[in-house]
C-alpha cells in the first residue's frame, strides 16, 4: 500500500515534468534516427592520384578502379606540389621496378582505397602481360602444329548472388549497435532521472520527512522500482516500435522479450542511480558520474568487439551491467534467441539487481537508524 503510494507519487511528479518526459521518450528516438542517417550515408570515396613515370598499363588500370582518377605529371616536384596543395590525394612514382607512393593520409579511407587500387592495377598488369604471353604462345603453337585444337572458349565470369541471414544489403554498422543503444538509452535516462529524483528528495528534505513516518526503508526503494519499472516499460516499448517502424531495423526475436530485458535492465539502472545519488551532494555532482559510470559502459558493451582485446579489458566488461543487456538484446534482435536461452545474461542482471537493492536499503540507514 505504501509502495503503491510512493510509486504513484513519483509517477505523478514525472508526468507533470513535461521536459523530462520528452527527454526520456523523444530524445532516444531522435538520437537513433540521427545515427541511422549518419551511418547509412553512402560513403563513396573519391581519390585523385598523381603519377610520375608510371607505366601506361598500370595507369590505365588505376583509372578504371571505381572512384580513382589519375593525373599524369612529368616531374616529381610538380606532383609533390600538387599533393601539398591538396589537389591530389596521393603521388605514385615509378623508378627501376620500384613504386614510391606518398599519401596525403588525412582520410584513412582514401589511403586504403589508393593502396587497394594500386594493388589491383599491378595485379591487372601481371594478368595482361600473362594473357599477352599466352596469346603469343598459342600463335606460335598454331604455327608449329596447325592440327592442335585451339584453346577452349574462355569461361564466362562466375556470377555472385548474395544471401543475408540478417537484414539485407543495406544493413550497416547501425544495425549492430542498435540493440546495445536500446539498452544504453534505458540505462542512461533511468540512471540519471532516478538518481536526481532521490537526490532532490534528500536535498529538499522530503526524504527526511518521509523517513519521519513509519514507512519501511525497503518500501521507499520498492516504490521507486515500481514507478521506474513502469516508465521503463513505456520507454522501451516506444524505442522498440520506433526502431521497427521508423528506422526499419529488422527485429528477428520477440518484442516482448526485448521489453522484459529492458525492464530488468532499467531496474538495475535505477538501483545503480539511487546508490550513486547517495555519493552526490548536488545535481552537478550527479552529472559528474556520467563520464565515470555511464560512458565507459558503452566501450565495454560490445559496440567495439572485445574478443581481440587484452584479458583484463574483457574482465572489466564482465562487471558492467550494460555488457549483459547488450548481449541479450543483440541476440534477441539479430538472432531471434528466446528468453529461455538467455539464462546467463538474465541471471547476471538479477545478481546486479539484488546486490544493488540490498545496498540501497542498507544505505538508507544513513538517514534513519531503523
Amino acid at each position: 500500500m505504501r509502495i503503491i503510494a510512493i510509486a504513484g507519487r513519483v509517477l505523478r511528479e514525472l508526468v507533470r515534468d513535461k521536459r523530462t518526459l520528452a527527454l526520456m521518450f523523444i530524445a532516444p528516438i531522435l538520437i537513433m534516427w540521427l545515427m541511422n542517417v549518419m551511418f547509412s550515408a553512402n560513403s563513396s570515396t573519391d581519390v585523385s592520384l598523381a603519377t610520375v613515370d608510371v607505366p601506361r598499363v598500370v595507369r590505365q588500370n588505376l583509372d578504371q578502379v571505381k572512384g580513382v582518377s589519375v593525373h599524369q605529371y612529368q616531374q616529381q616536384s610538380n606532383a609533390n606540389k600538387a599533393l601539398h596543395q591538396q589537389k591530389v590525394d596521393g603521388v605514385i612514382s615509378y623508378h627501376a621496378n620500384h613504386y614510391q607512393v606518398t599519401y596525403a593520409n588525412t582520410d584513412a579511407s582514401k589511403t586504403a582505397l589508393t593502396k587497394q587500387a594500386l594493388h589491383a592495377a599491378l595485379t591487372g598488369q601481371t594478368i595482361t602481360t600473362l594473357t599477352g604471353t599466352i596469346q603469343q604462345l598459342q600463335t606460335t603453337l598454331m604455327k608449329v602444329n596447325p592440327q592442335a585444337t585451339p584453346a577452349a572458349h574462355p569461361q564466362p565470369t562466375p556470377r555472385i548472388t548474395n544471401h543475408y541471414q540478417y537484414g539485407d544489403q543495406n544493413t550497416n554498422f547501425f544495425a549492430k549497435i542498435i540493440p546495445i543503444l536500446m539498452g544504453f538509452f534505458i540505462f542512461f535516462f533511468v540512471f540519471l532521472i532516478s538518481g536526481m529524483g532521490l537526490l532532490n528528495e534528500r536535498i529538499n528534505g522530503t526524504l527526511g520527512r518521509l523517513l519521519a513516518t513509519p514507512v519501511k526503508r525497503s518500501e521507499i526503494v520498492y516504490g521507486y522500482m515500481l514507478s521506474y519499472g513502469i516508465l521503463a516499460i513505456i520507454q522501451s516499448t516506444i524505442i522498440v516500435l520506433a526502431t521497427i517502424w521508423l528506422l526499419k531495423v529488422e527485429v528477428v526475436g520477440n518484442v516482448f522479450s526485448i521489453i522484459l530485458i529492458s525492464l530488468l535492465f532499467a531496474l538495475v539502472a535505477l538501483a545503480f542511480g539511487i546508490l550513486m545519488s547517495t555519493l552526490a551532494n548536488s545535481e552537478f555532482q550527479m552529472m559528474q558520474f556520467i563520464p565515470l559510470v555511464v560512458v565507459p559502459q558503452v566501450f565495454f558493451s560490445g559496440i567495439i568487439p572485445l574478443d581481440s582485446m587484452a584479458h583484463w579489458v574483457q574482465y572489466i566488461g564482465k562487471v558492467l551491467p550494460l555488457t549483459y543487456s547488450g548481449d541479450a538484446l543483440t541476440r534477441i534482435v539479430m538472432d531471434g534467441t528466446k528468453l529461455s536461452q538467455l539464462g546467463g545474461d538474465i541471471g547476471a542482471l538479477f545478481i546486479f539487481l539484488i546486490i544493488l537493492v540490498i545496498l540501497n536499503i542498507i544505505g538508507l540507514k544513513r538517514y534513519r537508524k531503523v
Binding site: 500500500m1 505504501r2 503510494a5 507519487r9 505523478r12 511528479e13 507533470r16 515534468d17 529538499n204 528534505g205 522530503t206 527526511g208 520527512r209 518521509l210 523517513l211 519521519a212 513516518t213 513509519p214 514507512v215 519501511k216 538517514y367 534513519r368 537508524k369 531503523v370
Partner: protein, 243 residues
Amino acid sequence: MTTTISLQALQKSFDSHPVLRGINLTVKSGEIVGLIGPSGAGKSTIIKTMLGMERADSGQARVLNTQMPNRLILGQIGYMAQTDALYESLTGRENLTFFGRMKLISGTQLKAEITHVSQVVDLTDDLDKRVAGYSGGMKRRLSLAIALLGHPKLLILDEPTVGIDPALRRQVWHELGILRDQGCSILVTTHVMSEAELTDRVALLIGGRITAFDHPQKLEQAYGVPTIEDVFLKAEKEATTCE
C-alpha cells in the same frame, strides 16, 4: 500526566566533535516545551535523535515509552522540519494524501482529516493548487498541516512559524494551545523569543548542554531579567565565561 519524551544523559559526537554533552529533557503530555539555543547548539541533533534518525552514543532516548530508534512509533509523532520539505509539483491535497498514506490513514478517514487540518492552517481554498505556486507562508502552513495528520500524540516542530505573518502566527499558537489542552505533547524549537514566552516550559540549549529548563516566568525571575530574550543572552554569556 504521562511523560512522552524522556531524554537522559544523552551524548552524541560527530567525528569526535561532541554536539550533545549529556542532555536531560522531559516533555509531558498536555504541555508545550520550547527548545531555544543558538545555531549549532545541537537542537537539530536532539530532534533527529528523538525521531530515530540518529542514534545516541550513550544515554537514553525514550519517546512515548519506546526506546528510540523505533519505526512504528513514528506513526504517532507529527514532525515538521525546518525546511518545508514538500513535493512542489504536487498540489497541497496530493501532498497531504501522500503523507497520510505513509501513516497508513486511508479512505474516508483520510479525507476527513485533510479537511480538518487544512481548516486549522487556513489552506482550504488553496488545497488544489500546486505547491510550486504557494507563498512561503502557505508552504509553512501546509508543512504544519502534514505534521498534524493522524492525530499525533506528540508534535515535534522545528521552527514552525518562520515566514508566517503575525496574524497567522497567533492563529498557529492558538491551535497549538488547543491541541495541548486535548492532551497532545508539543516540542517546539524557535528563534522568536516572544514565542518562547507562550510555552509551558522552555529549555535553554547552549553548547550541547541544557543550561536552564523551567517555566518562562520562573526563568526570568531566576535570572532577574524581564524577558526570555534577556535570559537567553545572560545564559549564553555565562556559558561562554565558564568555558
